[in-house]
Amino acid sequence: MAKVLLKGVSKEFGKVIAVKDFTLDIKDGEFIILVGPSGCGKTTTLRTIAGLEEASAGEIYIGDKLVNDVPPKNRDIAMVFQNYALYPHMNVYKNMSFGLRLRKVPKPEINKIVRRTADLLGIGELLDRKPKELSGGQRQRVALGRAIVRDPRVFLFDEPLSNLDAKLRIAMRAELLDLHQRLKTTTIYVTHDQLEAMTMGDRIVIMNEGVIQQVDTPQVVYDHPVNRYVAGFIGSPSMNFLSPTIVKENGNFYAADKDYKLKIPGDKAKLLKDYVDKEVVLGVRPEHIDTKATKRDHDPGGVFSASIWVVETLGSEKLVHIRSGEKYTLIARLDPHADIKTGETVEFVANMNLSHVFDKETEEIVF
């Protein structure tokens, strides 16, 4: 177990900058998630930590040791790849013991470690099988086992669950968390799936175009995104964005457009004084929109009317796509028994206390 520190790490491939000035302090035993769309540099960052790519600039520490010039095998890390990368010609036992054999661990010792780990992962009966005789989930476990037997100081996971079907993915998610709680090994986990990031990470690192956008616990990232990008990336369905203009009337601030006029709560209004008569981006999460009829103690400033375009019934909730005029579409997450019909015009209410305003130019959050 060890902490991992990245200081101003950059990676360039020719003219393409894959990772730019990446600084992150990962605590000992932490489960940290790098998340972002494909091509955002998260995998490159992971590979740089592993030593499979050389950092173009910056310093990488594992424990207290600067490892920039240390080859992968001496960094005391283990990595699980998206496609498992099992050695196809070796059986499960040999796959798992390969690293130990190369390190000249005595045979009885290897045998003990491999069997113990295989039992831990529930693949004890599969030790003689070749990878092609295993199911996706079993291969995944073997890949995990291969990482665990080495007892490394840091685990690196590169989208380990994305080749599994949805049901198995959820089961493995829980297993991985359980495993982490037992082994307490520092884990760096890369995924493009924001749901995986939210459910698994102690902290999540949201990346875009090679740059860290925000690093924090899942709840903080969800409640207080630092910019429009993070706000839109985290959460499903994602945050609704509108482009109102800020208007000031009688000392009150409103976010207004042709079809709506929403009042900004008093304590937040003062942050908007530089934005009067300017266009901003208003972000409202789907669960912060309700029908006026069901929301008794609603904030009267957030009422607007819109027509119902599409209703998706999910059983536990209803996702309602609503439209006002032709200009914008919003998604509202409503109670599954909400009495609404496609085509109706209904009064909705947005919870303005939990909504966000972003600067239109910089896309940074105002509140």
């Binding site: 590979r47 592993a50 030593g51 499979l52 080859p71 992968p72 095998k73 890390i77 283990a78 990595m79 790849f81 998206q82 496609n83 498992y84 990368a85 099992l86 050695y87 196809p88 010609h89 390969f98 690293g99 190369l102 390190r103 070749k130 990878p131 092609k132 005789e133 295993l134 996706g136 291969r139 291969r146 080495r150 080749n163």
Partner: protein, 286 residues
């Protein structure tokens, strides 16, 4: 006509055609085989197919031809020479090609592209072009007429294609296998030995078959670099000289020819499964 019967019919037709073609192709070989067991008189008087009527009439078949060819006409010695030539001339180029293909596929080094381009260029050089310059060099070095000389020559002729084929297969292995091996602590050589080599078995086997058959059946290269000295002449050279002196004795020539075919057949049948088997299935989920 139901769909099932029409399928059976069309498949039956296909099989009939395939079997017919196979039989047609086999006829000359069967003729050679039967002739090689017939006494000299019979060969002169009647066609080999007359034996087919009474297969087990031992008076009409004999092993005398083989005995004669192997012990008195030098085919035995030539057969041995062929092995002495062919086995190293298969192993040497394949070993070098494996290392070269691994380096070209997975290592970064100065001149990488140049080496690769030169290799492609060498694929199109006809080997006849090389005889005179190479033979001059061999004469100077004293390699002409010796086994090491012909091993070297066959290795040289076999290498470009072998490297190219192995490069294609080895460079197509999933990158993650190499990443994973390097994290597991494998050096480049370990990776070659434990990962690349076992995974290349099918392609190496098929290349080995080709190289073996090509060297075994080669007459031209052997004639140029070895000459006709019985000490070193392979079976192909020996048979071609037998044609000169025993051109009328078909029963002897066919026996010699059949001896020369046997190793090719053994090699092919023992390694043919590697043509079909794809060992990579299941390593990486596609």
């Amino acid at each position: 006509m139901s769909e099932k019967t029409s399928r059976i019919l069309s498949r039956g037709l296909l099989h009939t055609v395939i079997i017919l073609i196979a039989v047609l192709w086999l006829i000359p070989t069967i003729g050679v085989l039967i002739t090689s067991f017939r006494p000299a008189q019979d060969v002169a008087n009647s066609g080999w197919w007359t034996v087919l009527g009474n297969m087990f009439d031992s008076a009409r078949l004999t092993l005398r031809n083989y005995n004669m060819v192997l012990s008195r006409l030098g085919v035995g010695r030539a057969f041995l020479n062929s092995f002495i030539i062919t086995i190293p001339a298969t192993i040497i180029p394949l070993s070098i090609a494996l290392l070269a293909a691994y380096a070209l596929g997975w290592m970064k080094f100065f001149g990488h592209t140049f080496v690769f381009m030169a290799l492609i260029a060498l694929l199109v050089v006809p080997l006849q072009m090389t005889f005179i310059p190479v033979l001059r060099i061999f004469n100077k070095l004293g390699l002409a007429g010796s086994f090491p000389g012909i091993w070297l020559a066959h290795s040289g002729y076999g290498l470009p294609l072998a490297i190219y084929m192995l490069y294609n297969s080895i460079s197509g292995l999933p990158k993650e296998l190499f990443d994973s091996a390097s994290i597991d602590g494998a050096s480049s050589f370990h990776t070659f030995l434990y990962i690349v080599l076992p995974l290349s078995v099918p392609i190496v086997a098929s290349l080995a078959i080709f190289q073996f058959l090509w060297v075994w059946n080669d007459l031209l290269v052997a004639l140029i670099y070895l000459g006709g000295t019985p000490d070193v002449a392979p079976i192909t050279v020996q048979i071609s000289s037998l044609v000169g002196s025993y051109g009328q004795d078909w029963e002897l020539l066919t026996a010699a020819v059949f001896i020369s075919i046997v190793p090719s057949l053994i090699i092919f049948f023992s390694l043919q499964r590697y043509f079909v088997r794809g060992i990579l299935a299941g390593s990486v989920k596609g």
